[in-house]
Symmetry: C2
Subunit: 309 residues, 2 copies
């Protein structure tokens, strides 16, 4: 099988914005470093949780430049490079490869709906061919709830066959365990990451190499405990614990909720800012969220506060 | 009511690509000129039919520059300036305003699904405020089949109230006549364009100012005949004729079909190229399409051949 450098808990890193709505590179670098210190196996920057599609390609590339300049190891980075235009996607992939990133995470083109597998294949294929780099490691990003356009099982197979050294994995954010299971069964050795830690233990038992999950932004250690102990007697109990937290988070709009948590536990209100079309939690939602976390024992809070101090 | 310069048959202009997949500015300029010569009331370049979201912002701006340099009147242009990132949308709107374009056509941000009216309002509002031009005339682009994200009637009302001199119209590509009718009833004087000529006569009778329609790329004269004679005794018969052609086109994937028609009747095979994720018609589909048009009397073909000669 082709080499790919990622395993464990990968985090689609939240992107902080300044009060003026600009990407905040300073806070971003600090937060990425903190996540790695917490044990993240990789940083899937510029994903859905990162509000990547709410940033221009130039803004995304500038943030990546700043991470690299700050010494964040490129091999730990899996930037999202999806775009509706193959030219934008090519620019983003080329930039990531130029920095030596461990991989890139690629959405299908998501404006046109009802497109054929042939059309999506042609898009991905064009980007790979235009970049033309033997070091490119491309992970497909399957997220029908947002992209609507999908990587079908057949299409995944075609891409692996056409680009065995390049198309090395997939993040499955379908929320549909049967799809994740089918990918793991059909493509042994292909690096499948469930898009939620709810499926982490089940995934690992079937050959998944980790997960890429939004809640990693606030719970790397908890999720990593499942990853580190999935063969052990406590695996089910540990999984139940992280699932409980995940379900609590899912009661709120995920990105604003995660940013509110970071803002609260790091005592840094600026972190709550989101870019339109997302909107921040209102005060009542914020209070309810923090109260919900409190009921789960403040474990998360203590962890974050200790690190932020 | 605020001034807005568009009426009649507006065409979301097809974008030609070279065999290498690059936007073909030369063919684009010629085609835009031909459409205006045919009587188009305006050119809604960079719409869905234009594969605009399959081009980078830089590619779109380059094509607009070339149109202006070639002497296409800016006041006839309504470039699509939609993007998922408010920074990209701002760049595109500012560029169009800088050229003195008659207006811009603005998608909602279309990556995140299930977003609130507040979030979409904040997005459009941010772009308008960042551009900060009194000459901007912004048309909302409501196309749920592609964008999924919608401009609800309430949101349209909020935007008109907040920006009465700027938010002056809407293209309704919902395909839902009841939505078009509701817009016309609720916002008199607001420039509503049905997104298909199928609703042209019904729309004009309720106050629409024209239509913006993909099939305008191959049938401006026919559609314009309805626009010019909608109060006359032949209106229903003329509408039936253009509806028949539209329905024939709709039997095929619209953008590849329109490009195939242009390629065929202009004897210019390069025109058939599309960018991924769209795919060209296969030979059987192409033959069937041309045969279907033949059964409708070759009117279209003669018209285009005469102009292309």
């Amino acid at each position: 099988m082709p080499s790919q450098p990622f395993s464990g808990v990968l985090v689609p890193v939240l992107t902080p914005f300044t009060p003026n709505g600009e990407p905040d590179a300073g806070r971003f670098v600090s937060f990425c470093r903190w996540l790695l210190d917490q044990g993240a196996g990789g940083l899937a920057i510029f994903g859905t949780t990162s509000e990547a599609n709410s940033m221009s390609p130039a803004e995304r590339m500038e943030l990546l430049d700043r991470l690299i300049e700050a010494g964040i190891p490129a091999e730990k980075l899996m930037p999202g490079t999806g775009a509706c235009a193959m030219t934008d996607a090519t620019t983003l992939v080329r930039h990531a490869v130029g920095h030596g990133c461990g991989g890139v995470l690629m959405l299908p083109p998501f404006y046109y709906k009802g497109v054929s597998d042939d059309g999506i294949f042609a898009f991905i294929s064009s980007v790979i061919d235009r970049v033309g780099s033997p070091t490119l490691r491309l992970f497909l990003y399957h997220i029908p709830p947002m992209a609507v356009v999908e990587f079908s099982l057949d299409l995944v197979g075609r891409l692996i066959t056409a680009y065995p050294e390049t198309v090395v994995g997939l993040k499955d954010s379908s929320g549909d365990w049967s799809n994740t299971a089918a990918l793991l069964e059909r493509f042994p050795g292909f690096a499948v990451f469930p898009g939620s830690e709810v499926f982490l233990l089940d995934g690992l038992r079937k050959g998944a190499v980790g997960c890429i999950t939004a809640s990693g932004n606030v719970n790397v250690p908890g999720i990593k405990t499942v990853y580190d102990n999935w063969r052990g007697p406590q695996a089910e109990a540990l999984q139940a614990e992280i699932t409980t937290l995940r379900k609590a988070l899912q009661a709120y709009p995920m990105v604003p909720a995660l940013k509110r948590i970071v803002a609260h536990y790091h005592n840094d209100p600026n972190w709550a800012a989101v870019r339109p079309p997302l909107v921040p939690l209102d005060p009542a939602q914020s209070a309810a969220l923090i109260a919900d976390l409190g009921k789960l024992g403040f474990t998360l809070g203590e962890r974050l506060q200790a690190k932020a101090a």
